[in-house]
């Protein structure tokens, strides 16, 4: 347990100490970067507001993440089914990555209404591509010999997908989800800049109030959310791959 918790906390403590010293010594202006103690104070003072915002953002990010998991994997399955389909549609998936959500704000709000649905849509759009890209590479990398085996025993495409190509692609799908989880958080926050709620809203306001402490507090909470999702995926990865995949064996 100590071996699992200690190493990750050392750099954190180091950064915290450095920040505190740097700001107190005036190496960095305190209106630019707050001291960790100030962040902590802001967290405690605004705990109700932040907790509420955190829950809202979590809900939006989680829903968006769930949608892009399902949607991204489905899209990758479709794309993997033929070279022609892949050539025809894969390039358009790139579009999802390069479109600045803010520029599409009116469309989002008009199509998805105001509030949660826009937040979810934003989280979804921002996080789907990594799921598609990684799942697709994974699905296309199935060992041809194993594909032969399934073909020989008359497995349908569907069965081959579920019993062979998915499990074989799992390490890469999980990597895609690792990336998507963080992006879903950021997507939710950007959506909240438009839809006006959650941590995005806190950041938005605190920024104009010069409350760097609160901005950092909210950003930190967003990171905590991202880390929680990341940890969840690592856990799934450890459980599912431990027995057979090199990446989870030490």
């Amino acid at each position: 347990m100590i071996k699992r918790v200690l190493p990750p906390s050392i750099p954190l403590l180091a950064v915290i100490a450095l920040m505190e010293v740097a700001v107190r010594q005036g190496w960095v202006a305190s209106y630019l970067v707050p001291t960790p103690t100030a962040i902590l104070k802001a967290m405690v003072e605004s705990r109700v507001e932040l907790a509420e915002a955190f829950l809202k953002t979590s809900a939006g990010a989680l829903l968006g993440f769930a949608l892009s998991t399902v949607g991204g994997i489905s899209a990758a399955v479709l794309l993997s089914s033929s070279r022609t389909i892949q050539r025809s549609f894969y390039p358009y998936a790139v579009f999802f990555q390069t479109v600045p959500i803010i520029a599409m704000a009116p469309l989002l709000v008009i199509w998805f209404g105001y509030g949660m649905r826009t937040v979810v849509a934003s989280a979804f759009v921002v996080s789907i591509f990594p799921v598609i890209a990684n799942t697709l590479t994974g699905l296309l990398s199935t060992d041809p010999a194993l594909r032969d085996l399934f073909q020989l025993y008359g497995a349908s495409r569907r069965v081959t997908l579920f019993k062979l190509r998915f499990p074989a692609a799992l390490p890469q799908i999980l990597t895609g989800l690792r990336i998507a989880s963080g992006l879903a958080v950021i997507g939710a926050i950007v959506g909240e800049f438009i839809g006006g709620q959650g941590l995005g809203s806190v950041v938005d306001v605190a920024r104009t109030q010069q409350r760097v402490d609160k901005v950092f507090a909210a950003v930190l909470l967003a990171s905590v959310l991202g880390l929680a999702l990341f940890g969840l995926i690592n856990l799934i990865s450890a459980i599912t791959l431990r027995r057979w995949h090199a990446s989870e064996q030490s």
């Binding site: 010999a145 085996l149 020989l152 025993y153 008359g154 497995a155 499990p167 027995r243 057979w244 995949h245």
Partner: protein, 250 residues
């Protein structure tokens, strides 16, 4: 000589050609007829096209030209590949039960069948292990059990016993022969061991290094029942001599 002809498979290859991109033609105008219920041993130098031939017969690879007809048109085929090709995320038992699972056999029933075959190949203890925890020979034996569990009418075997010690091998040879007698399936058995070819089969062919032509095609006239006693039989020795001579010519 044939023992049973029941629900077995006969096959015929007519002027079959096959080459690979950027390589010479591997198989050139091969003609071959295999009667239902035959046990055909296939010998030939490494790289001559034996595995390619079996894969074409299993319809995993189309010929460039020529035809391969089987009767019935869709025989129940099992294939012991040259490499074990196990699914790394499945236990030994689940690997052995895979073809049955793909064919929709119920859980109880397929586990029972897989367990029986695993016991036959001496892996009753290793049921719950993963492929990465097995020795090379054990992996091959799982793959053998996987093929036998399906009760095929056409059994394609690509050097199935090469990775086994001689004692295990001799025992499995006898068992295979018994199985063939009992079930009356058609077997195509690729091997590098000339004595194994002669010991097991009813007919043996030797393929040419270039073009994969049949340079020797001999019925093996030995008693139907093949026991260890036969190994020192001079009639077996004569067959071995003949096959060896043909191989050496190549």
């Amino acid at each position: 000589m044939r023992v049973k002809i029941g629900g077995v498979t006969s096959l015929q290859l007519d002027r079959v050609r096959r080459s690979f991109p950027s390589g010479p033609t591997v198989i050139e105008d091969l003609n071959l007829k295999v009667d239902a219920g035959e046990f055909l041993a296939i010998l030939g130098p490494s790289g001559c096209g034996k595995s390619t031939l079996l894969r074409m017969i299993a319809r995993l690879l189309p010929p460039d030209s020529g035809t391969i007809t089987t009767s019935p048109q869709h025989p129940r085929t099992a294939f012991v590949f040259q490499d074990a090709h196990l699914l790394p995320w499945r236990t030994v038992l689940d690997n052995a039960a895979l073809p049955l699972e793909l064919q929709g056999v119920g859980r109880e029933q397929r586990y029972a069948a897989a367990r029986a075959e695993l016991a036959q190949v001496g892996l009753a203890d290793a049921e719950q292990r993963y492929p990465a925890q097995l020795s090379g020979g054990m992996r091959m034996r799982v793959s053998l059990a996987r093929a036998l569990a399906t009760s095929p009418s056409l059994l394609l075997m690509d050097e199935p016993f090469a990775a086994l010690d001689e004692i295990t091998r001799f025992n499995l040879e006898v068992q295979l022969r018994e199985l063939w007698c009992a079930r009356g399936m058609t077997v195509l058995f690729v091997t590098h061991s000339i004595s194994e070819a002669a010991f097991l089969s009813n007919r043996a062919i030797v393929l040419a290094r270039r073009g994969c032509a049949v340079i020797l095609d001999r019925p093996i006239d030995l008693p139907a029942e093949r026991t260890h006693a036969l190994r020192s039989d001079p009639r077996l020795g004569a067959h071995i001599q003949e096959l060896f001579a043909a191989m050496e010519e190549e």
